[in-house]
């Protein structure tokens, strides 16, 4: 905590100095017309106040008006506001929606605003996710993925030793054994759960980000593209034209039966959310992003460790994060684009990334985050580099996400995996046909 604030203070000092040097004025004043940029973001998300204030020193004529909506309502809000007569200038949104928003003409292409050297510095996965038809629509600020946290005391008491490197990562059946050993109380109504519930959404299982990787990891990207194992791994046609044959595969159904058993027959994971379960020592294992680890570093409520995410056949984790972009119908597109690009480059990017504690998207910044150079947080970096895959992209991601999440939730609640996946394929197809 202290170190962070010192870093911050010195950073601020540096920027302030830089500003005075450039302007040769102690307080920069706006000489031209004032411009107000309207930002739509989720609470507690970037752009953060400090880099914004620092940026305003260099751009004294820009003011901000920030509107916030909670993450579950973010996509709905964007779809309402983006089409309105007075859209926000800058939107924060879930990264995989980039192509959808680009195709709908909501986002402004920012390729020409990108600084020199950006192409070499950006993580390729981030660039790919935020590009559409050869244009970049969002520079990206942070990158994230999930790994499995564990409560050291509980796990040790149960005599379980979770692996710490990717090479030794568990398979799901091994993980299940650990969940069962560690869980306290009756199956399905535990006092301490084997695998805690997510903190995303309403806490129920099924999210594509976290739960589609069960079946994807049962696939295999190295076999023939016509095989079901290949299709299982991608979960969506690489050309984005169909999901048929990609979700309802024998491999996926097998994996989903296992997934289902965790919530039902084995009873090691709850079907509904329990706020803070892991942080309150009511769960042995827990899947979350680096943000949870960084929160625990600042406030170590429990002793904890990280183990790589388990898999069936091919280890895989989803990448991506919220990101932001300028809107195409902004009244100040130049300034909005400049702000967006500036916020994700150099010191501003560092300030933004270090605030929440996810991973940066610029390779040059990795060295500045000491915490990622060693266990436990290093697991995230390793996973990103070796296992990371974007969520199935395409201009209809939002619909795919909702449909598949509902199907996964149906499976977790006890529905027939093959039927639910077949139904999801049909629904996705209907959307794609339009």
């Amino acid at each position: 905590m202290k170190i962070y604030s010192i870093v911050f203070a010195s950073l601020l000092g540096a920027t302030a100095l830089g500003a005075t040097g450039a302007n040769a004025q102690s307080t920069p004043a706006c000489t031209g017309e004032t411009v107000t940029l309207r930002i739509l973001r989720t609470p507690g998300n970037y752009p953060y106040p400090k880099p914004m204030e620092a940026w305003q020193k260099d751009n004294p004529c820009v003011k901000f008006e920030v509107n916030e909506v909670p993450f579950p309502q973010l996509a709905d809000t964007i779809s309402v506001q983006a089409a309105s007569s007075n859209p926000p200038d800058i939107i924060v949104y879930d990264g995989p929606n980039t192509q959808s928003y680009a195709a709908a003409g909501i986002l402004l292409p920012i390729t020409k605003y990108l600084p020199k050297g950006w192409d070499d510095d950006i993580l390729p996965a981030t660039k790919a996710e935020h590009s559409y038809n050869g244009e970049v629509y969002s520079p990206g600020i942070e990158q994230t993925t999930v790994a499995m946290y564990y409560n050291k005391k509980l796990v040790e008491a149960a005599g379980v030793k979770p692996p710490q490197t990717l090479a030794e990562a568990w398979t799901w059946p091994q993980a299940l054994e650990a969940f069962k050993k560690c869980q306290q109380g009756p199956a399905g109504a535990a006092t301490v759960w084997g695998l805690g519930p997510t903190r995303f959404g309403n806490g129920q299982p099924g999210l594509v980000y976290q739960d589609l990787i069960y079946q994807r990891s049962a696939g295999d990207p190295k076999v023939a593209p016509t095989s079901s194992a290949y299709k299982t791994f991608w979960a969506f046609a690489p050309d984005g034209k169909t999901a048929e044959g990609y979700l309802n595969t024998p491999e996926a159904v097998e994996a989903l039966k296992f997934y289902q058993s965790m919530f039902n027959a084995e009873g090691v994971a709850p079907k509904v959310g329990i706020p803070n379960a892991f942080f309150d020592a009511k769960a042995c294992f827990y899947i979350d992003t680096p943000a949870a680890g960084n929160a625990l570093i600042k406030d170590p409520k429990i002793e904890w460790g990280i183990t790589p995410l388990p898999y069936f056949k091919t280890p895989v984790v989803h990448t991506g994060s919220t990101t932001f972009g300028a809107t195409a119908r902004s009244k100040h597109p130049e300034i909005a684009a400049k702000f967006v690009v500036d916020m994700s480059w150099g010191e501003y990017a560092y300030m933004n990334v270090s605030q929440r504690g996810n991973l940066p998207t610029l390779k040059s910044l990795f060295s500045r985050f000491d915490v990622y150079n060693k266990y436990p947080m290093k697991v995230f970096v390793d996973q990103l580099q070796s296992w990371g895959q974007p969520r199935p992209p395409g201009p209809k991601f939002a619909q795919y996400d909702k449909i598949v999440s509902e199907a996964l939730r149906g499976v977790a609640f006890g529905g027939n995996p093959a039927e639910l996946m077949a139904d999801a394929e049909k629904k996705v197809q209907r959307i794609l046909d339009r």
């Binding site: 509107n67 909506v69 809000t77 309402v80 903190r199 309403n202 706020p275 803070n276």
Partner: protein, 281 residues
């Protein structure tokens, strides 16, 4: 004779206890739990004990955090502003329209009334998208006025007042008319003072409706500074973080208590209004 009476009393008692268990207990649980931390809430439920309904070892920590972390005070005052505005304008517009329909003879009154009656049946929840287009087209999205304006011309309100106005004896205004009073004066000084009860009823129902509205404010307002209470408590979790149970209960309590107090105060009007609208429906 005596045994049947005892049996009846016992039966009455059992029914009352049942009603308490069904209707009061959940509220008691919510309020009591809002004063506990999450694990006490869980612990009191499994196994269930009387403690679940009583704030044993109360802490106001949930409320402190709720008021510190969220904009709930702002949301409460926004809601009060919107609700009062909506009540005032609904009463004014509905009573004026009801007056015209009952006290002034003009051709086409039936058509107008049919037009109004028809909207009574519109499932407005299903019309959010076009309504949004209209309201934002008028530049009213993200404003408090935008929250209330679509509901001011309330067909229900008109309906309720029209019935009340019809019951007023014609003699009441005849005298005034002979004295040369115009419609405006008759409306304000003779008709309105005689329909206080239905006006209070409508005001209360409008207030309730507005205080409890959710879907429309959710769609039309994004600026947290203009958020209203129901949306605020539905969204009180920080991003991607489930709110803890105690705090959610605290939010529910804060959103409900003002309304229940108001209801207890004006209950007579509410039940009366509901009942009359039903009887003559």
């Amino acid at each position: 004779m005596r045994t049947t009476r005892i049996r009846r009393t016992a039966l009455t008692l059992v029914i009352i206890l049942l009603i308490i268990a069904c209707f009061l207990a959940p509220y008691a649980w919510v309020v009591a739990s809002s004063l506990k931390n999450q694990f006490t809430v869980f612990g009191d439920v499994t196994p269930l004990s009387w403690r679940a309904f009583v704030p044993v070892g109360a802490t106001i920590e949930n409320y402190v955090s709720l008021f510190e972390r969220t904009n709930i005070l702002r949301a409460l005052s926004n809601t009060a502003i919107v609700a009062i505005g909506q009540v005032v304008f609904t009463l004014l517009l509905c009573s004026m329209a009801a007056y015209a329909l009952t006290r002034i003879k003009f051709p086409g009154a039936n058509v107008v009334f049919m037009l109004i009656l028809l909207t009574f049946l519109l499932p407005i929840e299903a019309m959010m998208v076009p309504l949004y287009q209209v309201v934002s087209g008028l530049g009213l999205s993200n404003t408090l006025v935008g929250i209330m304006i679509p509901w001011i011309a309330s067909p229900f309100g008109l309906f309720l007042l029209k019935q009340a106005f019809e019951e007023l004896p014609a003699e009441l205004e005849d005298a005034a008319r002979i004295d040369g009073a115009g419609h405006v004066r008759i409306f304000f000084s003779i008709v309105l003072p005689n329909v206080k009860v239905p006006m209070v009823t409508l005001g209360l129902i409008t207030f309730l409706f507005c205080w409890n509205s959710f879907l429309w404010p959710l769609v039309i307002v994004q600026d947290p500074a203009r958020q209203i209470i129901q949306v605020a408590i539905a969204q009180q979790g920080s991003p991607t973080q489930l709110p803890n149970w105690g705090e959610t209960f605290a939010g529910a309590t804060v959103a409900t208590v003002p309304l229940i107090l108001l209801f207890l105060l004006l209950q007579k009007y509410f039940t009366q209004g509901m009942a009359t609208s039903g009887i003559k429906g």
